[in-house]
């Protein structure tokens, strides 16, 4: 870590959080301990409070949207079928797109109807965490603390902030989400295929297992690959989401801290102002990109979970069903 040279100016002293982030961007991104709150003797992590807050906000917003999307009373006439709020309209468009254009072509109608609530919950939960992570709640709180002359952080990796931060930039959080996906994928596999079918699926399918003994080495190889694949797939989900969020936030904090670095280097007001202006424009552009990444990564996590679930469906049955559905709904063929 680069040692900080804080100028002897009142305003500059309030830039300590930014300077700290500039010299070590990871200190801004990693999950922080909240020493003021403990559960079972363990300090609560900032991501945990953020998750709970995001969950509550999500429930309130989606409950409101559900009321506006739900069919209204008969007295409203045909208007009862139309969303009665802007939020409802946005949620409705997203749900329809995900269900009709993304999930049904991959999973078929039956599996989509079965897992749609879970997959939508996953998408919106991750999206809310990603979006909250883009809003600098922690930085604002630390700034206020530093203005008051209070410590904005406690010991190593601690914070006085009580809310905020990018929860999905924590491998523990994305790992938790991936674990849920893993459990659901395997439960779906056992329910659809049975234990024998599940094992045959891992060994490359019934044809390969019941084939010539000469194929057994291949069966063993396929089993090893598929078995590791069981864990690699959710691990890849966790790492992909985590890495994207960390990379985006690192880029963002680096851009926003250029001005503070310039001030720390003693460039003077003009130089600091010019660099701050350029970095602010860059940070705004990166923020727009991050909004897109937040949506995209939430979608990718949910969509790949749907793909892995559909891979565990009974293949012949699903194919037949999918063909029937294609004829009825003019959707694309299943990905598997």
């Amino acid at each position: 870590m680069i040692p900080l040279a804080i100028p002897d100016m009142p305003v500059m002293s309030s830039m300590v959080p930014l300077l700290a982030s500039a010299t070590d961007p990871m200190s801004h991104i990693v999950d922080k301990k909240m020493h003021q709150w403990n559960i079972l003797g363990q300090p609560v992590m900032l991501s945990m409070v953020t998750m709970v807050t995001a969950a509550i906000v999500l429930l309130i917003l989606l409950r409101f949207a559900a009321k506006s999307i739900a069919t209204g009373p008969e007295s409203m006439g045909n208007r009862r079928f139309v969303s009665r709020s802007a939020l409802g309209g946005v949620i409705e468009v997203m749900v329809l797109y995900l269900r009709d254009e993304m999930l049904e072509p991959v999973m078929g109608v039956r599996l989509t109807r079965k897992y749609l609530p879970f997959l939508l919950s996953m998408f919106f939960f991750i999206l809310s965490l990603n979006i909250i992570g883009l809003i600098p709640f922690v930085e604002v709180q630390e700034f206020i603390h530093s203005l008051r002359g209070e410590p904005f952080s406690i010991a190593e990796n601690g914070t006085m902030a009580i809310f905020g931060g990018a929860a999905t930039a924590s491998i523990s959080v994305t790992g938790g989400m991936a674990f849920i996906s893993f459990v659901l994928i395997q439960v779906q596999g056992f329910r659809e295929l049975g234990v024998k079918g599940w094992l045959e699926h891992l060994c490359g399918g019934h044809e390969l297992v019941s084939g010539s003994p000469l194929l057994y080495p291949i069966v063993l190889l396929v089993f090893l690959v598929e078995f590791f694949g069981l864990f690699v797939k959710p691990a890849a989900l966790a790492i992909r989401l985590f890495a994207n969020m960390v990379a985006g936030h690192t880029l963002l904090i680096v851009f926003t801290s250029f001005g503070a670095l310039a001030a720390n280097a003693g460039l003077g007001w003009f130089g600091v102002g010019a660099i701050t202006a350029v970095s602010a424009v860059g940070a705004m552009l990166i923020t727009l990109l991050e909004v897109f990444v937040a949506l995209l990564q939430a979608f990718v996590f949910m969509f790949l979970t749907a793909v892995f679930i559909s891979l565990m469906a009974h293949e012949e049955h699903e194919h037949d069903e999918a063909h029937g559905e294609d004829a009825a709904h003019a959707h694309g063929a299943p990905a598997h």
Binding site: V30, S47, A66, I69, F118, L120, F125, S170, G176, F242
Partner: protein
């Protein structure tokens, strides 16, 4: 190790378990209170739209059938009206012809009657004239002869005069 360090890859079991618990709670709550309402609303709307489309298609088919039926009836009506006009014309021509024939016959009858009346009048006039002429001739003859003529003489003289006149007429 339960607590995270500055290393972002450091795994912490506490947030991991919290994530599972919080997400499971959120998924259950959304699954009970939110998604059924939203999905039912969307399905209701979809059903309504499909129903409206089906009804519109049925109405269109019904309208097309009625239009076809109407056009067929219109065609029949036009043919019937043409036939009626044709028949009316034929009837009018026939009636005109009949009327004309009847008028001509009537006219001929009237002419015939007029001729007969004229003939009758002429005969009457001729008879009167003959009678008057005879009377006049007798009166003249009486004056000439200066004597009285008996009724038998008068009758004989009239007949002789008439015979003489008829002989002159020839």
């Amino acid at each position: 190790m339960l607590l995270a360090s500055a290393n972002p890859l450091e795994f912490n079991l506490f947030p991991f378990i919290t994530t599972i618990v919080v997400f499971a709670t959120v998924a259950i709550a959304l699954g009970v209170f939110v998604w059924p309402k939203i999905l039912k609303g969307l399905d209701d709307r979809n059903t309504k739209i499909l129903g409206e489309i089906a009804a519109a298609e049925a109405s269109r088919a019904s309208a097309a059938a009625k239009q076809k039926e109407f056009e067929q009836k219109l065609q029949e009506a036009m043919e019937q009206s043409s036939r009626m006009i044709r028949e009316a014309k034929t009837e009018a021509i026939r009636m005109g012809e009949e009327l004309r024939t009847r008028s001509e016959a009537d006219l001929a009858e009237r002419a015939r009657r007029a001729q007969e009346e004229i003939e009758s009048a002429r005969r009457t006039a001729v008879a009167e004239l003959e009678e008057h002429a005879a009377t006049l001739a007798v009166a003249i003859a009486s004056r000439i002869l200066k004597r009285e003529i008996s009724a038998a003489d008068q009758k004989r003289m009239v007949e002789e005069s008439l015979a003489g006149m008829q002989g002159q007429g020839r």
